[in-house]
């Protein structure tokens, strides 16, 4: 065994440099987008509009070192001549200057603003350090739900209604927690019934469950909404729990069935002989044994419901019951360019799913295997 381990390890090492290089590159590409908005969410609004998030790190950039006013008699529609400090003579029309010229000594000369400004600005490339005026203001603005003011692209103060993301946060939790627990409870009873109880119609009903696994949500939305409006469930939490329960059930039953049907038959049979009822076997044996499968599906369903947009949009609609994804989508729609609010909002919306995900991911991996590898 030790011998084997060793040879495998050496095999591992030979390619480890290239392997790690490729993995680091892929990981970098995957993580940069998230990293970018994380940094952006802490920047001053005015800076976000005028420079990329990567400029918070030390870098070389053009810094203004002086300006030159063109004489009033120079024809702006013709050639504009300019003699730089090192004696170089450059001439060109307005659009030439607008693009900027780099002199031999490494300075950049560029026309500033519109033609009538009659100003050339001179820049030099200098190192700038870390951006130090990072702020929590964006997060405060996104969560408050009150009127907010911030500096726009041109440095002017803007006032606007903030998004009430903290309210949506509570709504999302109200939607997600029952919409995770209820379908799992219903599914685990059903999975036990399908796996261990004999009754007429068992096979047909379970075939239906498997067939429904792939039925797209879109099919169900129109009829379900019709029913909801008939019994006044539109816009209510009860309605959205019911919808998520219905749409999540096939996968829940299928995964839990796979798991429960693999529990050794002798365990259950000896319990039956001892006179235990189905319900007590279910609560005392099946439930404790199924914890990994339940946990793994719970994460799956939790992430799915938390991140859902379509069902929330059509069942809850807008208003006071709107969930995080809706608020965020509205921000994209109405405040398309307000990156300081959008990035902070996007990051807040990720906190809960990421926490759930990383704290329970070992179950996730194990539980997903139960459903997929066996096929």
């Amino acid at each position: 065994m030790a011998q084997k381990e060793k040879s495998y390890k050496s095999q591992k090492k030979t390619s480890s440099f290239i392997v790690n290089l490729v993995l680091i590159l892929i990981s970098a590409v995957f993580v940069v987008p998230i990293f970018g908005i994380l940094i952006t969410s802490f920047r001053q609004s005015e800076r976000i509009f005028n420079s990329g998030w990567w400029t918070v790190f030390p870098h070389k950039e053009w810094v203004e070192i002086g300006e030159y006013k063109l004489d009033a008699d120079i024809d702006l529609n013709g050639e504009i001549k300019f003699v730089s400090e090192d004696g170089q003579e450059i001439s060109g029309d307005y659009s030439f200057w607008k693009n900027g010229v780099i002199t031999k000594s490494g300075e950049k000369i560029q026309y500033y603003g519109a033609k009538r400004s009659r100003t050339l600005k001179i820049y030099e490339r200098r190192w700038t350090g870390f951006e130090t005026d990072l702020t929590l203001e964006n997060y405060r603005n996104v969560l408050s739900g009150k009127k907010i003011t911030y500096k726009g692209e041109d440095g002017k103060l803007l006032t606007r209604n903030g998004s009430d993301l903290s309210n949506s946060f509570i709504n999302s939790l109200t939607v997600t927690i029952p919409a995770t627990i209820i379908p799992i409870t219903i599914a685990i009873f059903a999975a036990y019934g399908f796996a261990w109880l004999n009754f007429p119609g068992r096979k047909i009903l379970f075939t239906m469950v498997v067939a429904l696994l792939v039925v797209p949500l879109q099919i169900a939305i129109v009829p379900v909404l019709q029913d909801f409006s008939r019994i006044h469930l539109n816009g209510t939490f009860l309605g959205i729990w019911l919808a998520h329960t219905g749409f999540g059930l096939p996968l829940a039953i299928y995964l839990l069935f796979n798991y429960i049907s693999e529990i050794p038959r002798d365990i259950l049979e000896s319990a039956f002989i001892d006179g235990a009822t189905n319900f007590s076997i279910f609560t005392k044996l099946i439930l404790p044994l199924s914890v990994p499968a339940i946990a793994s599906f719970a994460i799956f369903q939790f992430l799915w419901v938390w991140n859902d947009y379509l069902v929330a949009l059509v069942v809850l609609g807008g208003g006071t019951n709107e969930v995080v994804t809706q608020t965020l989508a509205n921000m994209v729609g109405t405040k398309g360019q307000d990156w300081h609010l959008l990035t902070a909002g996007a990051f807040i919306s990720m906190i809960i799913p990421m926490t759930v995900f990383f704290s329970l991911q070992k179950y996730f991996v194990r539980g997903m295997m139960a459903g997929s590898v066996k096929g």
């Binding site: 480890s16 109880l197 009822t277 938390w306 759930v356 997903m368």
Partner: protein, 364 residues
């Protein structure tokens, strides 16, 4: 528990009967009282109490139902317990499924044959629209792109990372990073990527893609408005989101391959490429198919990314988004239903495959 009760009307029977009625009434009472209380809290804008109550009430009603119903059924005669109890277990799930998914298939089918208000029969007119309209043809082309490119690259990258990470000391770090997008909503991902594809056109670009292009001397573009190629850029987002899912499942499948098998092949002088194609791929074939079909279905149903990034404009529309537009923007129930049915027809092969695979397992 005394299972040899006689069928005579002994006093204990009557007490039992009343207990059963009481339990049933209790369940119904708690349910309806809960609805009242929630409505009360909601109309008075007591957000947090209402949320807490909703969670406790919603969950406890379900638990109470199963406990109560089972208690009642287990007090019937053993014969009737055995007959009825299975339906207590599977009944609620089956009823909800039939209401939420099975019946809607037929109801949608019916409304797809009716006009915009779902009143008059119009025959196959909606389908004629779905398959011949110029816009719809673009929609189908786009979904085909999503299906092929999105699925292929997600699975390919997932497999590549799973295989490579298996050989690295820092496996956990890489995997955690690749996972992370999975926890992000499509809307959140939309914000993230909008920021990358952003275009200002005023000299300074704050979008990463334009900054990269400019640092190589190129011109900035409004990427999401370039027909056809903007589809590819949207598909990149899906690949970013789904690769983690593929990697998780394929990685666990690869870990299930017995080490002896790989070792034996290496001793026989098989190259790593041979091992990959002749051993790893055949062994994980089942998982590979499972992952591919799941991602394929995801890409067929794509909605949120397109909706939040372009709203389906600039030639990026997809089936699910067109469904949404027809139903909720143009209020054309007939066309929306026809589009949903088309989506269903596209997944029927997967459904048949699933059923066939399930029957082969002979669980019943």
């Amino acid at each position: 528990m005394n299972k040899t009760q006689t069928f005579g009307k002994s006093p204990s029977k009557i007490v039992l009967f009343f207990k059963m009625i009481l339990i049933l009434a209790g369940i119904i009472l708690i349910f309806t009282a809960g609805v009242r209380i929630i409505t009360f809290l909601d109309t008075n804008h007591l957000k947090i109490p209402s949320a807490l109550f909703a969670i406790v009430w919603g969950v406890s009603t379900v638990v109470l139902f199963y406990t109560g119903a089972n208690w009642i059924v287990e007090h019937f005669s053993p014969k009737w317990t055995a007959r009825i109890q299975p339906y207590i277990f599977v009944g609620p799930a089956v009823i909800i499924l039939i209401w939420a998914l099975t019946l809607p298939v037929f109801r949608t089918l019916i409304s797809s044959l009716k006009d915009a208000d779902a009143k008059n029969w119009v025959g196959l007119q909606n389908y004629k629209y779905a398959f011949t309209d110029d816009q719809m043809l673009i929609v189908f082309r786009n979904n085909l792109l999503w299906l092929i490119l999105g699925t292929f690259f997600s699975v390919f990258l997932g497999l590549l990372i799973a295989v490579l990470a298996d050989r690295s000391k820092y496996e956990k770090v890489y995997k955690s990073i690749i996972f992370t997008p999975m926890a992000i909503s499509f809307i959140g991902a939309g914000v993230i990527w909008k920021f990358i594809y952003n275009y200002k056109g005023q000299g300074v670009e704050t979008g990463l893609l334009n900054a990269i292009v400019m640092s190589f001397g190129g011109q900035p573009h409004a990427w999401l408005q370039i027909p056809f190629w903007n589809n590819i850029l949207l598909i990149v987002i899906m690949i970013w989101l789904e690769t983690g899912y593929c990697m998780v499942i394929l990685s666990s499948a690869i870990k299930g391959i017995p080490e002896e098998l790989l070792e034996a092949a290496r001793i026989d002088g098989a190259s790593e490429t041979t091992i990959f194609f002749k051993i790893i791929i055949p062994v994980i074939k089942g998982s590979l198919i499972a992952v591919t079909t799941t991602v394929a279905i995801f890409s067929l149903k794509t909605f949120d990314v397109v909706q939040s990034m372009t709203g389906g404009n600039y030639g990026t529309n997809v089936i699910a988004n067109e469904f949404y537009n027809q139903r909720f923007l143009y209020y054309n129930i007939g066309r929306a239903s026809a589009i949903a049915i088309v989506l269903l027809i596209l997944v029927v092969p997967v459904m048949i495959m699933n059923l066939r695979q399930f029957n082969e397992r002979k669980v019943f």
